[in-house]
C-alpha cells in the first residue's frame, strides 16, 4: 500500500539583516501554510483508502519540531526531523537529496510537495527531488487523484489547463487554492503536544552537504523605491483614472 511522504518547511515570517547578513535568527517561525495543501491532499487520500500512510518530514533546526507537530495535528501519521549542524544553509541539491533519502527510508511511493515555500524560496526543490530519485515529476497540481499504479493531476503551466498522469513512484507539487487545508481542532493540537518526533542526522540519512555552494557576500539597502501615493475617494479617483487612461491610450 502506498506511503506518501510530504516534505514541509518551517519558515520564518520574514527575513532580517544582521551585521550585513540576511538571517532568520530571532524571527518567529511557523509551518509553511503552502505545505498544508499537499498534507491535506495526502490525508484525504489515506482517509479514502487510496494510501496507507502519510509521513511528514522537514530538514531544519531542532526548533522545527514544532512545525512537525502541527503536521501530526493536520493528519500525518509520522513525522521525521532531519537535523544536523552539517546541514545549516543546505542548498537545493542537499535538501533534495535528504528528501530522496527519507523517501527511500520510509518506502514512499509518492513525494507530495508544495510548489515553493513562503520564505522566498527557489521553487526548484520538487524538480531536484525528482532528479535525485529518477522519478517523474508532476508540478503545479491543483487537484490530484491516485490509484495503485499512477497519479493524475489537473494543472496549468501557463499554456492552459491540462490533465497530466504519471506512473508511480512519482513526485508531485501542489499549488494552493483547489484543496482547502483543514484547521486542526484544539483537541488535535493538544493530542500532539508531546508527540515523539523521529530525529535523524546526516549520517542516519547518508547524505553529506554539497561542498561547492553559492555564498552570500553582502546585503545592501536598495535605493528607496517608496512612492508617496495620492489617495482619493471614488469620484476624484475615477476622474484621475479616466485622465490617466486617456493619456496612456493616446501615447500608444
Amino acid at each position: 500500500m502506498l506511503t506518501i511522504l510530504v516534505p514541509v518547511k518551517d519558515v520564518s515570517i520574514h527575513l532580517r539583516v544582521k551585521e550585513g547578513r540576511l538571517t532568520r535568527q530571532g524571527v518567529p517561525r511557523r509551518l509553511d501554510s503552502l505545505h498544508e495543501t499537499p498534507l491535506e491532499w495526502a490525508r484525504r487520500a489515506r482517509e479514502s483508502g487510496l494510501a496507507a500512510r502519510v509521513v511528514a518530514m522537514t530538514l531544519g533546526p531542532a526548533g522545527a519540531a514544532d512545525a512537525l507537530r502541527r503536521t501530526l495535528a493536520l493528519g500525518a501519521d509520522e513525522a521525521i526531523l532531519v537535523s544536523d549542524h552539517a546541514f545549516e544553509g543546505a542548498d537545493v541539491r542537499t535538501t533534495a537529496r535528504v528528501i530522496a533519502a527519507v523517501a527511500g527510508r520510509v518506502g514512499a511511493g509518492l513525494v507530495a510537495c508544495g510548489y515553493e515555500s513562503a520564505d522566498g524560496s527557489s521553487g526548484a526543490v520538487p524538480g531536484a527531488v525528482a532528479g535525485s530519485l529518477g522519478w517523474p515529476l508532476l508540478s503545479r497540481a491543483g487537484l490530484a487523484t491516485v490509484d495503485g499504479t499512477s497519479l493524475t493531476v489537473t494543472r496549468d503551466l501557463g499554456s492552459g489547463p491540462e490533465r497530466a498522469a504519471a506512473p508511480l513512484p512519482a513526485v508531485v507539487s501542489f499549488v494552493e487554492g483547489a484543496i482547502e487545508p483543514r484547521v486542526p481542532t484544539l483537541r488535535e493540537i493538544m493530542a500532539v503536544r508531546s508527540a515523539g518526533i523521529v530525529t535523524l542526522s546526516s549520517a542516519d540519512v547518508g547524505v553529506r552537504p554539497a561542498a561547492a555552494n553559492a555564498v552570500d557576500t553582502g546585503v545592501t539597502a536598495a535605493p528607496a523605491s517608496r512612492r508617496t501615493p495620492t489617495v482619493l475617494g471614488f469620484d476624484d479617483g475615477v476622474d484621475s483614472l479616466v485622465a490617466l487612461l486617456s493619456g496612456a491610450g493616446s501615447d500608444a
Binding site: 532580517r16 539583516v17 537545493v92 541539491r93 533534495a96 537529496r97 510548489y115 524560496s121 527557489s122 521553487g123 526548484a124 526543490v125 524538480g127 531536484a128 525528482a130 532528479g131 517523474p136 515529476l137 508532476l138 508540478s139 503545479r140 489537473t154 503551466l157 501557463g158 499554456s159 492552459g160 489547463p161 491540462e162 490533465r163 497530466a164 498522469a165 504519471a166 494552493e176 554539497a210 561547492a212 553559492a214 552570500d216 557576500t217 546585503v219 545592501t220 539597502a221 536598495a222 523605491s225 517608496r226 512612492r227 501615493p229 495620492t230 489617495v231 475617494g233 471614488f234 479617483g237 475615477v238 483614472l241 479616466v242 490617466l244 487612461l245 486617456s246 496612456a248 491610450g249 500608444a252
Partner: protein, 304 residues
Amino acid sequence: MPEPEVTVVASDVATARRLLGVVQPGTPTRAVLLGDAGDAAGLPAGRVVLAPGLAGQDPAAVGPGVAALVAGAGAVLLDSTQPGRDLAGWLSATADLPLVWQVDALRRTPDGGIEVERAVMGGSHRLTQRVPPGQPVIVLARPLPVEVEPGRPVVERSALSSGPSALEIVPLDPAAGGASRLAGARVVVSVGRGIGGRDQLGRYQRLADVTGAALGASRAAVDSGWLPFSHQVGQTGATVAPDLYLAFGISGAVQHLAGMRASKRVVAVNTDPDAPISRLADLVIVADAGAVADELLRRLEEGR
C-alpha cells in the same frame, strides 16, 4: 582557453533575449533555444544553438539533452516559470550544481568567479551571492526590463532530441491556451481576491478590452481558479513593466509586488488604503473595485 560562456536556455526567443539582459554586457554568452523557439537572428549572444528536437516540459525527458548542451558552461540561466524551475531543479540535482534564484543581475568577477544579485525582503534590500571560479552554477533568473542591443550570433544546430516521457498529457481547454499578452503590455488591468469572485471578472475583462490592456491577476485569484495561470503576475508568474498598472482588489503580497515593481505608474483600487500595494502606488483609490470599474467603463464607452 577562453572563459566558459554564460549560457541561457529558453523555449522562445523573447525569453532568451530577456535572460541575456541579466548578464553584464561584454560577457561571452550563448543561447540554447529549445523546440520551435522562433527566429534567432539578432539575439544579443555570441553564439546560438538551435535544438528543435529538445522540446517539452518534462524535465526528465528534456533534461539529459539540455545537460549535454550546457556541459562546460560557466553559468546556466533559465527563466522562473514553472517549467524553468522544474528543469533547473532537475539539472541541479543530476549534474550536482549549485542553484541560485530570482537573479536579476549576473557578472564575472575579476578572478573568474560569478557574482549574482537579487532583491530580498520585499525589495527593500539587495543580496549579492558569489560562486567560486571554475564552479558552474544554475541560475533561475527574474529579468528586469532592459533594452539590449541586437547582436549577430553564430548560429549552430543540435540534433539532440528529448528522451521518452513517462507523462501523459491531455489539454483540457484548448481555447484557454495561447501566450498571455502580459509580456510587453503598455497597460495592465489586474485583479485580486478583493474583486469578490469569478463572477465579477466580466467587467475587468471588458475594461481591459476597451483600454487595450492585458488582463493580469494575483496568485490568490489564479489559485482560486478565477483565471488561468498565464494571467498571473508575480514572483511565480509573469514580470510586467507597463506604463500603467491598474490593480483592482489586490492587497499586494510580496509575491505579487515582485512581478509588477517595475511598472511606470501604479494605481491601486482598494477598500483598504493601508494595503501593502499602496507603498508602490502613485494613486490609491479607496473605493469598491467593481463600482470603480463600472464607472470607468461607462465613462470610457460614453466617450467613444
